[in-house]
């Protein structure tokens, strides 16, 4: 009993401390000149990007005293952030600046209230009239456009690349200087690695989206949407053939891994998988953790066909409601779009910057790219990037889930590739028809 009492007293003391701490923090920014507070929602965890985001925000906050930016982390990437955003809006609030994955572009535009960069420029900062067009590449700007309207400013761009473990290549008798170029070669190399080393040869990232698969399917001449862009149209022989190749690697050759993204990427870092097909955004994470000779190769092609690389990443729309918050958000946006910050962002993650001058700046990223083979690979793919398919309306959220389920159905053999694709296509089209 005595011990208990002491313990309770201790707990109480800690609580008091907590209470005091709480009181103090709430008093920040006295009555004198209250700075504008804006919130910036992003998806980057401590192991992936968050430190740079924090650095940017801190630097911005330190650079002036009218605006205070609060960064807010949202777990589970873009779907996670969309869930939180939805909830936030329901509660009658919204963040000032938010990070939206390109695949949610149409859903976001159709369902949320936001202010376009053009509106802000027109209303408050006419001097920035040419900012967008002079700063960003045209094909990059279109990534964040719906029906010609610029919804937000592109921030991060990623491309899918092949990471490979050169040590394992050597162990398997493969030439690390000549990584596979076509999917057929990828399959053969994976098989060799599995046979020779007993480890898995290949893993394609499995997030709750269709991004990497889109690259695979479109590389074989398939399309995700019909020509008018209003219907799902991926249940084609080309798509099935391409998907079958991945399925065969998992199910027939048993050389490819079918596992969650977290575990799969971890397994690659851990030397348990020879090749990883994943987003360039992970370059920073993988490089810092991998203990082997890590190298990169371009996203594979199908023999004789053109490489199709979907643009991953995100853009930043502004959702702030009041004039001063909108202005503040714009200020912050321009701050982080400065070449040195974008360069830092790229170096730490592997995302490609939305403005060309960052990559060309000899003091900035250029030198870095020359040294960093993986980032160089990602850059080299950038010219030919296509949009990541975004489904319109309410379908946007369910589409990614359907794609993820389709992948599970195919890769655990519960459905044939053709049937699974057909079922998914029908499901999406019936949703679109509603």
């Amino acid at each position: 009993m005595k011990k208990l009492k002491q313990l309770m007293a201790l707990l109480l003391a800690i609580m008091m401390l907590a209470g005091c701490g709480g009181g103090k923090s709430n008093d920040t920014g006295d009555d004198t000149s209250k700075p504008v507070e804006i919130t910036f929602w992003h998806v980057y965890s401590e192991n992936f990007g968050a430190p740079v985001i924090k650095e940017m925000v801190d630097a911005f906050n330190a650079s002036q005293d009218e605006i205070v930016v609060i960064e807010v982390y949202n777990p589970d990437m873009y779907p996670g952030l969309m869930q939180n955003l939805q909830a936030e809006v329901v509660s009658g609030n919204s963040p000032s600046i938010v990070m939206i994955g390109y695949n949610y572009l149409k859903y976001f535009a159709a369902n949320f209230i936001y202010v376009t960069p053009d509106e802000i420029i027109e209303k408050y900062v006419p001097e920035d009239k040419d900012y967008l067009s002079t700063t960003f590449l045209d094909n990059i700007l279109t990534l964040a456009q719906v029906d010609g309207e610029q919804v937000g400013v592109p921030f991060s761009i990623s491309t899918p690349i092949i990471y490979y473990n050169a040590d394992m290549f050597i162990a398997a008798g493969l030439d690390p200087e000549n990584p596979p170029v076509t999917w057929e070669e990828v399959r053969a190399a994976a098989k060799t690695i599995t046979e020779k080393t007993g480890e898995y040869g290949f893993y394609m990232q499995e997030y709750a989206d269709n991004w990497a698969v889109q690259g695979l399917l479109e590389g074989n001449g398939a399309t995700i949407l019909s020509e008018d862009g209003k219907q799902a149209a991926f249940a084609s022989p080309e798509a099935a053939e391409a998907y079958q190749l991945l399925a065969d690697m998992v199910l027939e050759d048993k050389s490819a891994l079918h596992i969650t993204a977290d575990e799969g990427i971890q397994a690659f870092i851990n030397g348990k998988v020879g090749m990883l097909c994943g987003t360039s955004a992970k370059i920073g994470t993988i490089q810092s953790a991998a203990q082997f000779d890590l190298r990169g190769a371009e996203f594979p092609v199908f023999a004789g066909k053109e490489r199709r690389v979907p643009a991953g990443g995100n853009f930043l729309p502004i959702m702030a409601a009041s004039e001063e918050e909108q202005k503040a958000a714009w200020e912050f946006m321009k701050f982080i779009m400065q070449p040195e910050w974008l360069a830092k962002w790229s170096e730490n993650t592997g995302y490609l910057p939305p403005r060309q001058d960052v990559a060309e700046d000899p003091d900035g990223l250029k030198a870095y790219i020359e040294e960093n083979q993986l980032l160089g690979i990602a850059f080299s793919e950038m010219d030919g990037i296509y949009s990541w398919v975004a489904f319109p309306g309410d379908v946007g959220t369910q589409a990614e889930q359907i794609f993820a389920n389709t992948r599970d159905k195919i890769l655990d053999r519960s459905m044939s590739v053709e049937d699974a694709l057909k079922e998914a296509e029908d499901a999406l089209n019936s949703l679109l028809a509603e």
């Binding site: 809006v89 971890q266 309410d394």
Partner: protein, 300 residues
């Protein structure tokens, strides 16, 4: 105003309600009102954001019943229930019997040790188990690897994914259930057991014929709580580890509601599904009151 002298009983009644009031108020605002609101939402088509809510009658319920996913969710829910009932009810029930009536000295320590994992949060439990079962780098995989068995990637394997996620709930509830069942066992007189022993009754029969009937109200309580809480305990690991995947193989009705609501923003359908869940629970509640509360009254 006239001064009215309250009768003693009148004053007591008033006071009685005053004492119940704070808890009642909290429940009304954060339990019953939400329940009613959810019922209301289940008749609407609304995505939580749109200003217009469209009255659609029973359409949401229709949609729930026609959705093949619902069948999957119900099937998985049943699977979770079966696994959980076995692992956090049947197993501790038998072990509580063994601990009370079969084992000799030094048996008291187990209830304390087995209780410890229930102090760990579900997220921590989920993440630690995820690593323990990591097929490529986890200890289970490593041990199996030594025997030349390839650990299947559980998070992508139907059935197995339910089992591993259930283990998180098992970690959380086993010790507590064991404790409650032990306390039920302590109500059975040892003389009865000794008398049966003198007749050379095998333990199996002592359990089935004497202990089970005498501990039935405790057992039913634990059984029902295992189902009701177990269903909710698996939510966190599902959300953190699999998000219901692969292809809904690890989702149950509780997570299904969450996904419909916060994943697809089908507030109406989510509400309809949660009302259905509620009805299932209501049956359990009825059973609880029928067997457990009544039993308690009889004892006094």
């Amino acid at each position: 105003m006239k001064k009215k002298k309250w009768s003693q009983t009148g004053r007591e009644h008033f006071l009685a309600w005053c004492f119940v009031a704070p808890a009642t108020l909290a429940f009304v605002v954060f339990m019953f009102w939400p329940l009613v609101y959810t019922l209301y939402l289940s008749f609407l088509k609304w995505n939580m954001v749109a200003i217009n809510k469209v009255m659609v009658g029973l359409k949401n319920y229709e949609a729930v019943f026609n959705d093949p996913v619902t069948k999957k969710l119900l099937g998985n829910t049943l699977l979770y229930i079966v696994i959980l009932v076995l692992l956090i009810f049947v197993l501790p029930y038998i072990l509580a019997f063994v601990n009370t009536f079969v084992m000799g000295k030094g048996k008291g320590i187990y209830k304390t040790l087995l209780f410890i994992p229930s102090l760990i949060s579900l997220v921590v439990g989920a993440i630690v188990l995820q690593w323990i079962f990591n097929p490529l780098s986890g200890p289970v995989g490593a041990v199996l690897g030594r025997f030349g068995i390839a650990m299947p990637s559980w998070s992508k394997t139907k059935g197995l994914v339910v089992l591993v996620i259930s283990l998180v709930a098992v970690l959380k509830s086993f010790g507590y259930n064991f404790l409650v069942l032990l306390s039920g066992m302590s109500g059975v007189s040892t003389e009865l057991i000794e008398a049966a022993r003198l007749e050379k009754t095998p333990n199996r029969k002592i359990f089935g014929k004497i202990v089970m009937p005498l501990t039935s109200s405790t057992a039913i309580y634990v059984l029902i709580m295992s189902i009701v809480q177990g269903m909710q305990y698996v939510f966190t690991p599902i959300k953190v580890l699999t998000q219901g995947g692969p292809d809904f193989a690890s989702s149950n009705i509780i997570y299904g509601v969450y996904q419909e609501a916060f994943g697809y923003y089908n507030t109406g359908k989510a509400s309809a599904l949660s009302i259905i869940t509620m009805l299932v629970f209501l049956v359990l509640l009825f059973l609880e009151f029928k067997y457990v509360e009544k039993g308690v009254y009889y004892e006094n």
